[in-house]
Symmetry: C2
Amino acid sequence: MAVRTIEWREGCVVMLDQRLLPTREVYRVYRDHREVARAIKDMVIRGAPAIGVAAAMGIALGARSLKPGGDLAREFDRLCRTFAATRPTAVNLFWAIDRMRRVFVRNQHRSLDTLRTLLEREALAVHDEDVATNRRLGTHGAALLEDGATVLTHCNAGALATAGYGTALGVIRAAREAGKRIQVIACETRPFLQGARLTAWELKKDRIPVTLVTDNMAGHLMQRGRVSAVIVGADRVAANGDVANKIGTYGHAVLAHRHAIPFYVAAPLSTVDLGCPRGDRIPIEERPGREVTHVFDRQIAPSGIKVVNPAFDVTPSELVTAIITERGVALQPLGRSLARLVRGAGAAAPVAPAKPARKSEPRRERRR
Amino acid sequence: MAVRTIEWREGCVVMLDQRLLPTREVYRVYRDHREVARAIKDMVIRGAPAIGVAAAMGIALGARSLKPGGDLAREFDRLCRTFAATRPTAVNLFWAIDRMRRVFVRNQHRSLDTLRTLLEREALAVHDEDVATNRRLGTHGAALLEDGATVLTHCNAGALATAGYGTALGVIRAAREAGKRIQVIACETRPFLQGARLTAWELKKDRIPVTLVTDNMAGHLMQRGRVSAVIVGADRVAANGDVANKIGTYGHAVLAHRHAIPFYVAAPLSTVDLGCPRGDRIPIEERPGREVTHVFDRQIAPSGIKVVNPAFDVTPSELVTAIITERGVALQPLGRSLARLVRGAGAAAPVAPAKPARKSEPRRERRR
C-alpha cells in the first residue's frame, strides 16, 4: 500500500505524523504506551478506525511493561483508561479497547509472556481486520457509483484514517479498481484541514483525480450540478442511523438533500453504537480554540477572540441515503437495516448507482 | 469612527490594507489611479460598497492627470474601464463608475480644473452617502432584532466593506445603539478569511461581543438552537431577489431555512441590479487557486493540487426572508418589494423581530 498509517514493528508502534502532511512525510516510533496515547490526543493519528488500531497497539505496548506479581487487572485497567481518555467521540476507540480487555480477561491466568503475546496478536488482528473490512466495505459501496461520477467528500475517511485503504475513500478506490472513472472533490475541512492536507495528499499519491475546495463551496458546486454523490466516514453511528462525523458533515448533508444528491456514509460496523439510541446522545468533543485562530503557527484572527471549536456534528438519519458497511449497504429505515447487519442478517437490497455529475451549464436549481 | 476604511486626503486615496489585518494595521497612500485599481484587484480593499467608493476616488485621482487638449472623453473612458476590469461581481463598482461618468458627461465642456473638482466632489459624495445609507439601513434592520439575539454573519459586511458603519454589521451596530444586547457569531469565511481577519477585528474594536467559528460549524450551531438570525451583505441582488454574496452564503441560507431561522440580506439599493433578472445571470469571479492552497504564505495542500475558487455564490430569492435597504425592508415576494423600494415607493410593512437564540439544552431538530 502506498500509504502506511500505522504499523507494529519490532515491539514499537510506528505512525506517520499526519500533522506534518502534506509538506513533510515523517514517521514517529513510539516505545511507550503513554506516547501513543498522547499521539492520539494530539492528532498525530486521527480517524475513528485508525484511532481504534492505535489504541489496541498502544495497549499491547503498555502490556510489555506490566510487572509480574502486581495487581495485574488493576494495572491493565489503568492502561485501558489512559486510552479511553484520549478522544471522546470515536466509538471504535472504545470498541478496540473492549477487544483488548476481553483478551486480557480470558487469559489473565496465563503467564505474563503469553498474555503479552496474545494482546499483541489481538492488536495486529484489529489492524489487519480493519484493512479487510474496508476492502469489503469498498466493494459494497463501489456498486453505488456509476462510471464518471464525481464524489464530494469531507475530512479524511481514507487510508490515513484507518489501518489502510479507507472507508469513504475505500469506496472510491474499489470503484476505480472496478474500472470506473471516478473523480473526487475534497473539502478542505477546517479547522484541522484534513481534507486539504490528508485526503488531497493520499488521493494524489494514488493518482486518483482530486479537486480541492473550501468547505463552503460545496453548496455552490451542488447547485451547479457538479456533484454526483457525497460519501463521508463516521466517528459514531447511533442505533437509529444518526451519524456523528467531522464538523461540517451536517451542512453537506442538508445541501445534498436539497439538491437530491445521494448522501452516503461509509463506516465499518464497529462504528455503529447500538447502545446509543440517537445522535443527540453522542458526546461532541470540544477542541482547543487555537485550531480555529491559527493555521499551523500563523495567527489568522485577532488576539484574545472568543472561539468555539466542536470537532464533530450530528447528521440526522433522515438525511442519510444509505450507510455502507462491510456486510452490505444499510438503507432506510436505517435503524432496522443497521440492526440486521450487526446481527449478521446479510446485506440489504441493491440500490441504483449515482449518476455522473451534469457537465452542462449552470441551471436554475430544483424548486422544492 | 473607530475604523477608517478609505479616505480622500490631500489629493491622495488612503486605504487601510485589509490583507494585513488582524495582526497589522497599515494604511496605504495612493497617488496614482492605477495603484488604486491594483489595490481593488489585490483586495487591499474589498466589500461591494467600499469597492464602489474606491473606484470613484480612483477615477477622481485619475482625472488629475488628464491632459488638456487631448481626446478627453476617450481618456476618461479608458480611466473608467481600468476600474470596471478590477472585480466583476460587485455591482456597486459599476454603479459608482456610472455616477462618475455622468458627472463627466454633464461637465465635459467646462474647464479641466472645474471638471476635476466636480469629479472629486462626486467621489466624496459617494463616500459620505454610503455612510449615511448604512446608518439608515441599520435603523430599518435593527427593528428586526430582539434584545438578546445572536446573529450569525459571514464574510465582512462591516465598516471595512463600506465607507463606514457597514451593512450587515451596521444593522448590528444600530440595534446595539438602540440598547439591544446583540452578540455575533462570525464565520471565518475561507478562503480569504474576511470573517476571522476583518469582522472579528472590527467588532472587537467596537466592543461588540463576537465568537469566531469556522464556516462549517454554522449548521451545528443552528441545530443546537444557538443562532437567532443570519444577516449577510450582498455583492449583487438580481431583480427577482436572488443574492450573489461571498462563497458560503448559500450554504448558510439553506441551513437557516431548514431550521426556520430568519435569513436577512443587508444591502444598499445600489447593490440591486434591476437589469439582471435572476441570480444565474450574475458573473461569478473565479479567483487564484493559491488562496485555497495557502493561508497567508503557509502551504496547506499538496503541491500541484487542482483547485477551484469561486469567490461568490447565489442564494435564491426563496431562501431570503427579507432584504434590508436604506429605504426600508423588502419582504417576499422580493422582486416586487425591491422594485417598489428602488422606485422610492416607501418601506414595506414591519415584521416581527428575531427572538433570542434558545439557551436551552441541545434538542432534536425540527422535522420537516
